[in-house]
Symmetry: C2
């Protein structure tokens, strides 16, 4: 995937679609899933009956060049919403009612500032758009009383600007996709080390704006931990942050931009830490008797080390299903057991030292090494989930994910509460389901929980999922956990965020927005109301 436009509702590189393994087909049959109606062709999708004021279109064309301002049907459809399952369901049904009126492609930071100026002046909402991979409604603006909606696509801002070999930092433009950033850095002998499942589609600016966390977060950290500096275009002008690795010069405003999801400004470039490309990469599988046992082992590594580069634990259900690669499932047909995947990257010496130390901890706490095969199978399939979702949808299944995080002492309670809540909400609707869970990000004090839900599509899959999601949100809230570990807020989690933060902190976010975006044009309705 280079910076081509995404398909409106199919994931990633369409030359490598997802193929359903036999085990998945069996599971679907058990759920009673039957294929839905075929999707409405993109040219037939229904756009909102809206038009930008001519003065705006004209000003944008003058600022960017006509070829970088589009009001074409397909382009608008292609910039409609993100990649949550409800988003895809809506587009498959031909509903493009959240489409922007125009899509602009600025070619520089100054052009981004210029677009914001024009849109502020005319009260036109601006949706910063990069990979288009939001799964929380981060690209579904509230049109309200705005004179129009423009998607600001960052795809032309996709360069590696500079590398500092001494400080080991690089400046990347916002629209650089993860896979492109890795390629550009590899040419200089480096890696960024950020591998979220959206890696093929999502971009540097999106990672920053939504606080992405990648599969190698144990080794390389979350994306927000990799960021040294940010350049941000706001309707009031440019903010440049990052004068030192750490500072006591007031609050860390980088952390206010990270997670702001386009509501405070458009991130146009990011200075990130980089690492020498690893000499060696090894992935292994370990088996534990139970999720609880596996979680104790992950906690031990997170708290006392040594920490692998990748560290994840699937619960019993996920281990048994292992949709992404059933051949790698632990002793297929065998009941029980939880798979831990460990990955090690670095110099040969670093890998050897960490692998030896971590293996000793895992073994001591009851883990049984399964060798490299399950680890390699995970590595090979790790970006395939979204492709599979498309195939599963065509077969009549509804697949969606949700995630949260909490402290270790609260982890079991949270996992049980969310699982029970989702299952009850789906059972109540008569939709048989599987709820799987894994830990994919660990910290000294806690961990993330990532749930994958597979169920039979009902007639209204959007309403069907909304009930399950509401139940999950309530369970997360009741447990005092966070509404999102790495998916973000968007419009879907806005109310949950308000409950999590409380009214005074929400007012702080509103005050920040009003300060940098007095007309409120930036991603209205995202993050805060």
């Amino acid at each position: 995937m280079s910076n081509v436009e995404r398909h409106p509702y199919l994931w990633g590189n369409l030359e490598t679609p997802g193929h359903l393994p036999d085990a998945a087909k069996d599971a679907l049959a058990a759920l009673g899933a039957t294929p839905p109606a075929p999707p409405v062709p993109v040219p037939d999708a229904t756009l909102p009956v809206t038009e930008l004021p001519e003065a705006v279109t004209s000003a944008l064309r003058t600022a960017l060049g006509s070829e970088h301002v589009s009001t074409e049907h397909d382009t608008r459809v292609g910039h409609t919403r993100g990649f949550s399952t409800p988003d895809l369901v809506k587009l498959r049904s031909g509903d493009a009612s959240d489409a922007p009126d125009a899509v602009v492609h600025p070619g520089s930071h100054d052009e981004v500032v210029h677009v914001l100026d024009i849109c502020s002046e005319h009260r036109v909402a601006v949706v910063p758009y990069s990979g288009g991979t939001s799964v929380v409604g981060g690209l579904a603006p509230e049109r309200g009383s705005f004179a129009g909606v423009v998607a600001l696509d960052t795809n032309r801002l996709d360069q590696l600007v500079s590398v500092d070999d001494v400080s080991r930092t690089a400046v990347l433009q916002t629209g650089t996709r993860g896979v492109t950033a890795e390629r550009l850095l590899a040419e200089r002998g480096y890696t960024l080390g950020h591998f979220p499942q959206s890696y093929e589609m999502a971009t540097i600016g999106g990672y920053a704006a939504a606080r992405s966390a990648g599969q190698s977060s144990a080794g390389y950290g979350r994306f927000d931990e990799m960021v040294e500096g940010l350049t941000v275009a706001t309707p009031r002008g440019t903010i440049t942050l990052g004068t030192a690795p750490q500072s006591a010069a007031g609050p860390d405003l980088r952390q206010l931009v990270l997670g702001s999801e386009g509501a405070f400004g458009v991130i146009t470039s990011v200075t990130v830490r980089i690492h020498p490309a690893p000499q060696q990469r090894v992935f292994e599988g370990w088996k534990f008797d139970s999720f609880a046992d596996g979680a104790v082992a992950l906690r031990a590594l997170a708290q006392d080390g040594p920490l692998p580069t990748v560290l994840r634990l699937s619960d019993e259900v996920e281990t048994a299903v292992n949709l992404s690669d059933p051949d790698a499932a632990l002793g297929s047909g065998e009941s029980g057991g939880c798979l831990v995947v460990t990955g090690y990257e670095g110099t040969d010496a670093q890998v050897a030292r960490t692998r030896e130390g971590a293996s000793a901890v895992l073994r001591k706490l009851g883990g049984v090494c399964q060798g490299e095969q399950p680890g390699e199978a995970w590595r090979t399939g790790r970006f395939r989930g979204p492709y599979l979702r498309d195939s599963l949808f065509d077969s009549g299944a509804l697949v969606e994910t949700l995630e949260t995080a909490t402290y270790w002492a609260n982890l079991d309670t949270l996992k049980t509460a969310v699982t029970d809540a989702v299952q009850a909400a789906l059972n109540d609707q008569g939709s048989p389901n599987l709820v799987m869970c894994h830990i994919s990000h660990v910290y000294e004090s806690g961990a993330s929980l990532y749930f994958t839900v597979v169920t039979k599509q009902l007639d209204d899959p959007v309403a069907q999922w909304a009930k399950a999601k509401a139940a999950a949100n309530a369970a997360i809230r009741d447990c005092g956990a966070t509404i999102s570990h790495h998916h973000g807020v968007g419009t879907d989690h806005r109310e949950a965020l308000a409950l999590e933060l409380g009214p005074i902190a929400v007012d702080v976010l509103r005050a920040v927005k009003s300060s940098v975006d007095p007309a409120g044009i930036l991603n209205p309705g995202v993050l805060i109301g």
Copy 2:
């Protein structure tokens, strides 16, 4: 030191004053220093001719109990300003013109909220006061048109509230001094691992509010990295932050409170990460031919590991002077060379592994191990600097420190520029001087620089230092570095902060303040104007 009140201008535990080593006396003689006039006794210090409105005093007494509201002369003098050298010079001369009108000691979070309510209603400025150790004017409020100034002393909030053994976190009240926190945690088998030079005096809330960094930051992290959660009293009510170790639920507002220096609210408790008390602690000295060589070695450890718990590098001048313990100086009389101190804490196995790995790196990059003696000497003397400053002042020297941070590629340029600027500014005034520097905090991408300046006192030491400090600030700014790595902003760095952030970001800080503190009563003039 338990939670006794500090002496107005003498540091720490007065039973262990600083004794000047012979080497220091020789150095002072070379500078031509002669003892200044003796300090004005505290009872003779001049307070501002101010009085709180009776309605305020009365409301505060009703809220807290009369015994927790003081307008006594000595108490007011004892809460005047912080511990920068200019602060001490002013108090020694009897100038307590920045004293609060009253000092209140709330005993609970709710009482803090109540105090803020009363002071908001009556437009009385509130200075959150804990260790009183600010060296950047963080306790010198701008009285402006406020009806009075109250110091809110957190000394009664000094409890370890709870420990979570599974998640390895603890909740500490804001006024708990570092030394007290370590004692309370040690009783439970833990350490916090935060050891700034102000350790005997400064508190948990102060560490958080000013983004403190301790001497073991390489191993345990900066204080802002240790914080999991915060409870903050604001004039609008309570904000509680921290639902998970990390989250994508919007911007990380913890990082907006950290570094807010009392301008956004009063932090009343902090949830911190804790660690098992180390089985072993080892400190060593290493010698490098030059600061540049030593910096290369520190960078290698920071970027590729393994990282000791303590890692610092003194430049040639600081190594030669080694005021805090001249007996430990490397081959005294020997010219050249720079001291690196390494410290290792953890289990026996962790210490052995890290020490072996780090020693190999240091040796490979030209370091010569000096054994444990210089390391132990540093450890023993590491909290003695402020005591020595008092003794040196009595001998006619002026000692002050300043610090900054930057990226590795910029470090040498910054060090030279600041050193030259300070020396020129002092030489211009005819005050012979020594400018020493060390690196005490390292990151993958950069490091801090900490400068200690010793010069002969002139007739007006405050004006004398102001010129040197202004020159240093300009050099830091010109180099694109941060105005403070861990001292903070206060009033002294307010203008420099504004230059560092730019006007739009400063407006963001103002907007946040207006949102939580509509009357602007919290630490007026600190952080932002």
